[in-house]
């Protein structure tokens, strides 16, 4: 058996890839991260930066428990990153809101939560429905149109660009080889090792972790896995920096540690990352002003669109290949929320060479076959 250059090749240098790579390096693995160049369509540079629990798991109950596990691990994860790098990712967990702008929206919200909580095996994450007055006690600047909302004490947020930078700093400090502009074109298994073809050269590794976001769809079949994706586009509006007025993040609106307000949770079934649909930004801004009227004459300084990593059913996919032992998929929408799990739970499994089925069996892509057969 040839000695491979690396124990593990992580394909993808976004948040999922670098969180996994950092976890692998902590387990003592020799790790290489193969990334695309600066022009890559990179969800990790465009996301909304919530560490979010409420609403997660409708349709797949174990996803709620998996999310809470990461949310609970987040403070320690952030602390460890700070010790290693000196960088603060500004993780806060003050509890978060989902606001309703009419009684109908509030009722729909309550019904959704009821359906979520009625699933067998669901973890109770203490989300409450609050009326206008109850919300106003915690968010005094809400407008009169806010009928109420749901509140979950486990919700939080982070500075996600700083998280991205911090993880890159951390993997560098731990000796991980980071290779930008090494888009993986092909993967073959040759004896005990994987050979990953890039335009520059071939990389050899004993194991492969596919963490390439929507591109996993094309990479997974090369190692006998599948990763069905349906990317979607989201748009974000950012205001000038304001004095702190919003103590809790709202799922559609949050004030960052630096004072800007980020607005947006739009979904479009288009995957062109360039340009904006102005009507979408306008709607986001209009709803934001109805939620918080004091934003009415605040200046917008940036808008952008970004492509969400989204599996076909929206839930994570963690798999190991039967035909190509040593190949794994690490794929999900919520790369910020689940970063602690990827670093502290998934990476050690990959380092040991086998996923812990008791934790991640529900997230195998085999679930798609069950649905299609049924």
């Amino acid at each position: 058996m040839a000695a491979s250059d690396y124990d593990v090749a992580v394909v993808g240098g976004g948040l999922v890839g670098v969180a996994t790579a950092w976890g692998l390096a902590r387990e003592g693995c020799r790790v290489v991260v193969l990334d695309e160049g600066d022009r890559a369509v990179r969800a990790s540079r465009g996301n909304f930066a919530l560490v979010w629990v409420q609403s997660k798991g409708l349709g797949l109950a174990p996803y709620a428990g998996w999310t809470i596990r990461s949310s609970n691990a987040w403070a320690g994860f952030a602390e460890t990153l700070k010790e290693e790098t000196g960088l603060d990712v500004c993780f806060q967990r003050p509890g978060g809101f989902h606001l309703a702008l009419s009684e109908r929206e509030l009722e729909a919200r309550a019904n959704n939560l009821k359906r979520l909580h009625n699933q067998p095996g669901i973890v109770d994450y203490k989300t409450e429905i609050l009326d206008h007055a109850q919300v106003a006690r915690m968010l005094p600047d809400i407008g009169p149109e806010v009928a109420g909302g749901s509140y979950c004490p486990l919700d939080g947020h982070v500075n996600s660009l700083r998280l991205f930078r911090t993880l890159h700093t951390a993997i560098n400090a731990r000796g991980v080889t980071y290779l930008p502009s090494h888009r993986v074109e092909n993967i073959v298994k040759d004896g005990a090792e994987f050979r990953l073809a890039t335009a520059h050269r071939e990389i050899r590794a004993n194991r492969v972790a596919l963490a390439a976001g929507n591109a996993n769809m094309h990479l997974a079949p090369m190692v006998g896995l599948e990763c069905p994706m349906r990317p979607e586009r989201g748009q974000i509006v950012v205001t000038e920096r304001l004095r702190p007025f919003l103590r809790h993040p709202v799922v559609t609106l949050r004030q960052t540690d630096e004072g800007t307000v980020m607005i947006g949770d739009s979904k479009e079934e288009r995957t062109d990352p360039a340009g904006l649909t102005l009507g979408v930004s306008a709607t986001e801004a209009e709803r934001a002003v109805r939620q918080f009227p004091l934003l009415a004459n605040v200046n917008v300084v940036r808008t952008w669109s970004a492509i969400r990593v989204m599996t076909r059913d929206g839930f994570p996919i963690y798999d190991e290949s039967e035909s190509h032992p040593g190949a794994f998929t690490v794929c999900c929408h919520s790369g910020v929320t689940l970063a602690a799990n990827h670093a502290l739970a998934i990476a050690p499994m990959i380092a040991r060479g086998a996923l812990d089925k008791s934790l991640v069996a529900p997230f195998s892509a085999r679930r798609f076959h069950v649905q299609e057969a049924g």
Partner: protein, 97 residues
């Protein structure tokens, strides 16, 4: 530091942080601030560094002030008017102002 050219317009009275400032019709707020010898009109939201009107053509956003109660207006793009209340801006803007 700045001296007005000879041609004069009608006098316009405004206040900056409550103090009377005399400007000339046709001045922008930024020109009036500079002519009055006000050496900075805001401090930055992050480090608190002082900033003054710079590009005078709407590009640099360094001349942000509160005008008649509305924050983060570009002083170089707003002409002065009689009785205008200008306030310098300290750090982050307050939402709702």
């Amino acid at each position: 530091m700045f001296k007005r050219l000879a041609e004069a317009g009608a006098a316009v009275a405004l206040t900056v942080d409550g103090k009377p400032v005399r400007a000339v019709s046709g001045d922008t707020v930024a020109a009036a601030l500079l002519a009055a010898g006000i050496d900075h009109c805001r401090t930055t939201p992050v480090t608190g560094a002082p900033r003054a009107p710079y590009c005078l053509m709407g590009i640099c956003f360094d001349c942000l002030v509160t005008i008649d109660g509305v924050g983060s207006r570009q002083a170089c793009l707003v002409p002065v008017s009689e009785g205008m209340k200008v306030e310098t801006q300290q750090g982050k803007r307050e939402a709702g102002r």
